[in-house]
């Protein structure tokens, strides 16, 4: 034997084990175990009593997570390591738990991948999920977790000093509007989304120091107008990828009508290379959208620019956001003459 029989096999094994590493993390988050550990409920016995779990199963799950490097274990007591304290404890400013809790729910959608491959779409789509009460708040906050930072970067890149009124279409948790308001002292931001979603955003933004500069507009952007010559800037962020091309073109046309002359439309989303095999995050996201929405996809910047030019926008260009992160995105900008 020239080389160990398991060398290439190991590479395969690593990928497969990806699910075994992911699931205990997601389950622990579901029960908020990291938050409880931070509060001193830090043994399998104490956690299982508090959360009504089986002690042995709890210990096995904690050991798995410790083996992945998120917990320290000493004499039967578990402590959050730095990464867990920063990212997985609920009152940390850098908490990404909502996003990961959403993944736990999405696991079931991914379970259906074989069916989606046969039929082309999932049995339940995103809108069905959003209608389930338990889903919306966590989903919206989940999207919020990962948008805080790109939102700030986008606000900086757009140069908002002279912008008076913005419209955030499909505003979700409202992080982009919040970043706009924080970047420009005279800016007023309107959030547009479904009623349940706006309720979540209102809750999150009610304690914002500039809460008075947010306006809320309940609408369904599929069927409602966005307005008539009212805004200096319209943002469509993290929306295009859950819709099909026809819907996106229509949204762009509606945005054109809703902008004042000289106003800008910004489509911000993940993009994919023309050959559609990278960046890796985008290619896998495309699959995720398939199992989860049935009709969304990750578009190329060329496609997006085409929508804008087709609707009459000029000076259409694009700028990369969060280039060094695991999930880089892109803002495609056009100006209404």
């Amino acid at each position: 034997m020239n080389r160990p029989y398991f060398e290439d096999f190991n590479k395969l094994a690593e990928v497969v084990l990806g699910y075994r590493a992911a699931k205990p993390l997601l389950v622990a988050l579901h029960f908020d175990i990291f938050t409880w550990i931070e509060r001193g409920v830090d043994t399998p016995e104490a956690l299982s009593a508090r959360l009504i779990l089986n002690p042995r199963a709890t210990r096995i799950t904690l050991d798995a997570i410790a083996s992945l490097g998120y917990l320290d274990k000493r004499g039967g007591v578990y402590r959050n390591r730095r990464e867990a304290r920063r990212l997985l404890v609920a009152d940390s400013p850098e908490y990404v738990g909502h996003s990961l809790k959403y993944q736990e729910m999405i696991w079931d959608a991914w379970s259906d991948l074989k069916h989606v491959l046969k039929s082309g779409k999932p049995r339940e789509g995103l809108l069905d999920w959003i209608r389930k009460d338990f889903f919306t708040a966590d989903y919206i906050k989940a999207m919020g977790d990962v948008s805080r930072e790109p939102a700030r970067e986008l606000a900086k890149r757009l140069g908002l000093a002279k912008v008076a009124r913005t419209l955030d279409v499909g505003s979700g948790a409202g992080n982009f509007s919040a970043a706009f308001v924080e970047a420009s002292p005279s800016l007023n931001a309107t959030l547009l989304d479904l009623p349940k979603t706006l309720a979540v955003a209102r809750g999150l933004l009610s304690l914002h120091p500039d809460a008075g500069r947010f306006a809320y507009r309940e609408a369904d952007f599929h069927s409602d107008s966005l307005g008539d010559r009212e805004y200096d800037l319209i943002l469509i962020s993290n929306v295009a990828r859950v819709e099909d091309e026809e819907t996106n073109r229509e949204l762009v046309r509606k945005s054109f009508r809703a902008l004042r002359s000289g106003g800008r439309l910004v489509i911000h989303d993940y993009v994919i290379r023309p050959d559609r095999t990278g960046p890796k995050f985008s290619a896998l996201l495309g699959l995720h959208l398939l199992v989860f929405t049935g009709r969304g996809e990750v578009y190329t910047t060329v496609e997006m620019k085409g929508w804008l030019r087709g609707a009459g926008f000029k000076s259409v260009n694009s700028v990369g956001i969060a280039k060094e992160s695991l999930h880089p995105s892109c803002a495609v900008v056009g100006r209404k003459p």
């Binding site: 160990p4 089986n54 997985l88 699959l287 398939l290 992160s325």
Partner: protein, 342 residues
């Protein structure tokens, strides 16, 4: 909401966490493709539509899946055609000597059990045991058994080479599965005969696999039963092998298995436990810690155990001369052979 400090985009810790939490997607893509035998159709460059047609799948969905496989390095793409990487050809195309697809198919089926992990953590064990999955997916038992065979060949050869068996004539393979381990021992020791104990359904597949090795046939006896209930016999064997059995069971059952093994051995005979072993902290190797969760997901009380636990059970059962030997060092799923003498 106060203005907060946000991490830089290049935040390595956060990226690592998100990467870990999303690891299931990459796994699911690979496992699904293997289940559908998609790689069989990529030995020459083909467009997505051609693959979809051959597998009766939706065109657009197939293209998205293939792009994801290309993005994760399992297929190559140029223009609109896809084809296997050398590694995928070697491991993921049916019929090859190093095919691992059966194991991946098994992982794909077990995905649903993992989906119920939240409930298993509450209950203390799988909501639905392995039997449920065996019945739910037609042909699953066979995939499961063949899957075990795929990954056992290397370790079996190494284990057979590591166990001294001079003058041995009879061995008992408890929970023999596809019989990979017995086959390796039989090949190494021409005078040896093997009794393979396992469930009737399993032994059907074992038969088929052993039929490919006609010279072994006469030296193999299949004993259909349940190792938790079937008698092992008395003073009949030189070797009793418990390979990848103890991780499926709770401590009480393992203790019983070792007592039964001792009764079944001739004086001077050897019992060999071959399995994953974790250190005293139970955290290393990482594979072992995660495998314990795997047991939680679809067994009633399985786990990975420490060398101290195994040694303790052997001593309690009356074995002496207890020794340990590493198998497959450096492999992702390295194991140990822990043995005792009667």
């Amino acid at each position: 909401m106060s203005v907060k400090t946000f991490p830089r985009s290049g935040d390595a810790e956060r990226n690592a966490l998100i990467d870990a939490a999303l690891g299931y997607r990459k796994a699911k893509v690979l496992m699904t493709a293997a289940y559908l035998e998609l790689f069989d159709h990529l030995e020459e460059p083909r467009p997505a539509a051609a693959v979809a047609r051959r597998l009766s799948l939706d065109d657009r969905a197939t293209e998205i899946l293939l792009d994801a496989l290309a993005a994760t390095g399992f297929v190559r793409k140029r223009g609109r055609r896809y084809w296997n990487t050398p590694s995928s050809s070697r491991y993921l195309v049916r019929g090859g000597p190093q095919y691992l697809g059966n194991n991946l198919k098994f992982q794909e089926i077990i995905w649903d059990a993992w989906g119920e992990l939240r409930h298993a953590v509450k209950r203390g064990g799988a909501v639905r045991p392995l039997d449920y999955w065996l019945l739910k997916h037609e042909g699953f038992t066979e995939e499961y058994i063949r899957g075990m065979n795929d990954i056992a060949k290397g370790p079996a050869r190494e284990l057979a080479a590591a166990i001294p068996l001079e003058g041995a004539t009879r061995m008992l393979d408890v929970g023999a599965g596809p019989g990979t381990y017995s086959a390796a021992f039989l090949k190494r020791h021409p005078a040896l005969e093997a009794t393979l104990l396992d469930l009737p359904g399993t032994l059907e597949t074992t038969s088929e696999l052993l039929a490919r090795e006609p010279d072994l046939g006469p030296r193999v006896r299949l004993l259909a039963g349940d190792y938790r209930r079937t008698s092992f016999g008395v003073a009949a064997y030189d070797l009793v092998l418990l390979s990848h059995v103890t991780h499926d069971e709770p401590p009480e059952v393992n203790r019983r298995l070792l007592r039964a093994s001792r009764r079944a051995l001739k004086a001077g005979g050897r019992v060999v436990i071959h399995d994953f072993v974790v250190d005293r902290s139970r955290l290393r190797p990482q594979f072992g810690a995660l495998f314990a969760v795997h047991m939680l997901a679809y067994t009633g009380g399985g786990r990975t155990y420490t060398a101290a636990e195994y040694g303790g059970w052997l001593r309690e059962a009356g074995f002496t001369g207890i020794s340990r030997r590493a198998i497959g060092s450096g492999s992702r799923n390295a194991t140990e052979a822990i043995s005792g003498v009667k």
